[in-house]
């Protein structure tokens, strides 16, 4: 059932599967990108430890630039650097980057098609106790609406590492979304990653529903598929780390195998990943769908687990949504 070609973790359903935050993959990935390409520079807005930009600073102190708490300046300085032959990675919390500096990104990075790599950390409700102000839930929407912007939401730290390296090699602007909390590392170095390609994680013999998800919640989708399997319901899991450009081929291929799909994201249900899937399906292969995400609300303080349960993004809630969609 697990897709062998995905080369998933040997401990995929074990309790002691390795846990790591996707932002850790940024730290290691950007050092590797910086090693292969001397044009890579990293900018920090007074958050070098929690964004892991500090890992790059240690490796390449001369290519690390401290901006202070000034995200708008960071985006526009980076645009200037990109137009002067650098590959800048700009780092802060997603609420501020691309939250605060959206228009600067729109005009000076997107409209210029400048090779700035926007890294938004601490996205989603799993930020936990900091509360709504810091739990960015609108960034995927903001970024995927910009023409020419690539949008990547890695599923785990290993994939984040690969995404950062791939972003450095891609022309033009890229947004990469990272999380604060440690989440299961379900992929391995052997797992294929290409910008714009989706990955089947779970392929049952008699699929009745498909779970399409992005980011770390793809692991919850996988757990949900396993639970559904135990209840006799076949659920395909398609992990889609690149929200834009969307792998429409893979999405449509899955959609043609099942009567209904559920999408899962740690983002507003309006305008994000689920909307991107709905746009694709509605125009090419309409079918019943549920968009799981935060339903037009802000986040709040709590532990990541409490909040994922509250906003119905845990594996049990995914199972429930899939079954209600199939009227089971």
């Amino acid at each position: 059932m697990l897709n062998k070609e995905a080369y998933l973790s040997a401990k995929i359903f074990a309790d002691d599967i390795e846990q790591k935050a996707t932002r850790d993959g940024f730290g290691t990935g950007v050092v590797e990108a910086g090693t292969t390409d001397a044009r890579v520079v990293v900018l920090s807005a007074d958050l070098k430890e929690s964004t892991r930009a500090e890992v790059f600073e240690k490796a390449f102190p001369d290519r690390f630039v401290e901006m202070g708490v000034a995200e708008q300046n960071m985006a526009t300085v980076a645009a200037g650097m990109a137009l002067a032959n650098k590959i800048p990675f700009i780092t802060s919390y997603a609420a501020f980057n691309p939250g605060r500096n959206y228009e600067q990104i729109r005009t000076t990075i997107a409209l210029n098609h400048a090779a700035v790599k926007i890294c938004g950390m601490h996205a989603g409700v799993s930020v936990g106790p900091d509360g709504a102000t810091h739990q960015m839930l609108e960034d995927i929407g903001l970024m995927r609406m910009l023409p020419g912007m690539t949008v990547i939401v890695p599923g785990d730290a290993t994939e984040a590492h690969k995404a950062v390296i791939a972003a450095a090699k891609t022309d033009g602007p890229v947004y990469i979304r990272f999380g604060r909390s440690a989440t299961p590392v379900f992929t391995t170095p052997e797992t294929p990653f290409t910008i714009g390609k989706a990955l089947r994680l779970f392929d049952p013999i008699n699929p009745e529903v498909a779970l399409l998800s992005t980011g770390a919640l793809s692991y919850n989708a996988l757990l949900a598929a396993q639970m559904l399997h135990e209840q006799g319901v076949g659920a395909i899991v398609l992990h889609i780390p690149t929200v834009k450009p969307l792998d429409t081929e893979a999405v449509l291929e899955v959609a043609k195998q099942v009567p209904a799909v559920v999408t899962i994201e740690e983002h507003q249900a309006h305008g994000g990943f689920g909307s991107a899937i709905a746009e694709c399906l509605a125009q090419s292969h309409p079918l019943p769908m549920r968009i799981l995400g935060v339903q037009d609300q802000f986040g709040q303080s709590g532990t990541p687990e409490e909040l994922l349960r509250h906003y119905e993004l845990d594996s049990e809630s995914i199972v429930k949504a899939a079954k209600s969609l199939l009227a089971l």
Partner: protein, 285 residues
């Protein structure tokens, strides 16, 4: 009315109680910011127990003074001061940052009466305070607007847009207070993004500038009185503070910006605060 020495020592005692509450609530929360809240305990005490025209039982009173907290991450000190002032039971402080609590990790106006606005994302308070001050002046209202800011957030361009606006419109009913504790997250402010000469910068933008020792309650209250007497400009009080003030082992250390004490540390910190850093036990033991 002049403040007597006993008024001052009463305020100082209240500040110590607020520091104790801050430590306790941070330990219970298991996350949150320690340095900023402890450093601003004296100033919050001065506001809630002397300066502000406010009524804890009627937080929506239209004529109240407004206290805008721009650097929302130090909100534990505001919650603690509000609780001690009678806005809500001090016991509720133990719910800080927990699921369902009104005491969110960063202040949310719609959840707790008396907060005036929502903050956490830095650099947005002074503009809102300026908007309030401008609106009150349009309505010929006499209440005053105070805006607390940090030094790290002076890096934000939004602040300087507000500084220009308030200077241009001579918002003398607006008093800003800067927590000049010299730290931010990545290190000392002068290393991360140098601010000096910060007083001259405000003067150049047509503000009246006063510099005080942020732990000297009398000096701070006198500065607020001076600000009220300046009618042609907004005033900023640059309050020189010690981050982590009251707990010598963490004072001045930027690494305490964003972490809470452990249970063991908290026991030690509380003892240091309760004994006025050894003074009580030495003198009265």
């Amino acid at each position: 009315m002049a403040l007597t020495d006993s008024d001052i020592s009463q305020l100082e005692n209240t500040a110590e109680e607020i520091r104790e509450t801050i430590i306790s609530m941070l330990v219970a929360a298991g996350s949150g910011h320690t340095a900023g809240p402890l450093g601003m305990a004296d100033i919050f005490t001065a506001f809630y127990f002397h300066i502000l025209k406010h009524d804890p039982l009627h937080p929506d009173d239209a004529d109240r003074d407004r206290l805008i907290l721009s650097n929302g991450h130090i909100v534990p000190v505001r919650y603690a001061a509000m609780a001690h002032a009678g806005y809500f039971d001090v016991l509720e402080c133990a719910t800080l940052r927990q699921f369902g609590s009104r005491l969110q990790g960063h202040p949310e106006r719609l959840r707790l009466p008396g907060l005036e606005t929502t903050s956490g994302p830095l650099g947005e308070g002074l503009s809102q305070a300026s908007g309030m001050a401008y609106a009150f002046r349009m309505d010929e209202k006499k209440n005053r607007v105070y805006c607390l800011m940090s030094d790290g957030e002076q890096d934000e361009g939004n602040i300087w847009e507000a500084v220009m606006f308030a200077g241009k419109y001579r918002l003398s009913n607006l008093t800003a207070v800067m927590d000049r504790n010299n730290i931010q997250i990545d290190g000392m402010t002068e290393d991360v993004m140098s601010l000096e000469p910060i007083a001259d910068k405000y003067r150049a933008f047509n503000w009246h500038v006063i510099e005080v020792d942020g732990h000297n309650v009398r000096q701070f209250i006198e500065a607020i009185d001076e600000a009220k007497a300046v009618v042609e400009k907004p005033t900023i009080i640059i309050a020189h503070t010690i981050p982590g003030k009251g707990v010598p082992e963490i004072e001045g250390d930027y690494r305490w910006h964003g972490k809470p004490p452990t249970k063991e540390e908290a026991q030690r910190f509380l003892k240091e605060i309760r004994t006025m850093n050894g003074k009580v036990t030495q003198e009265y033991a």
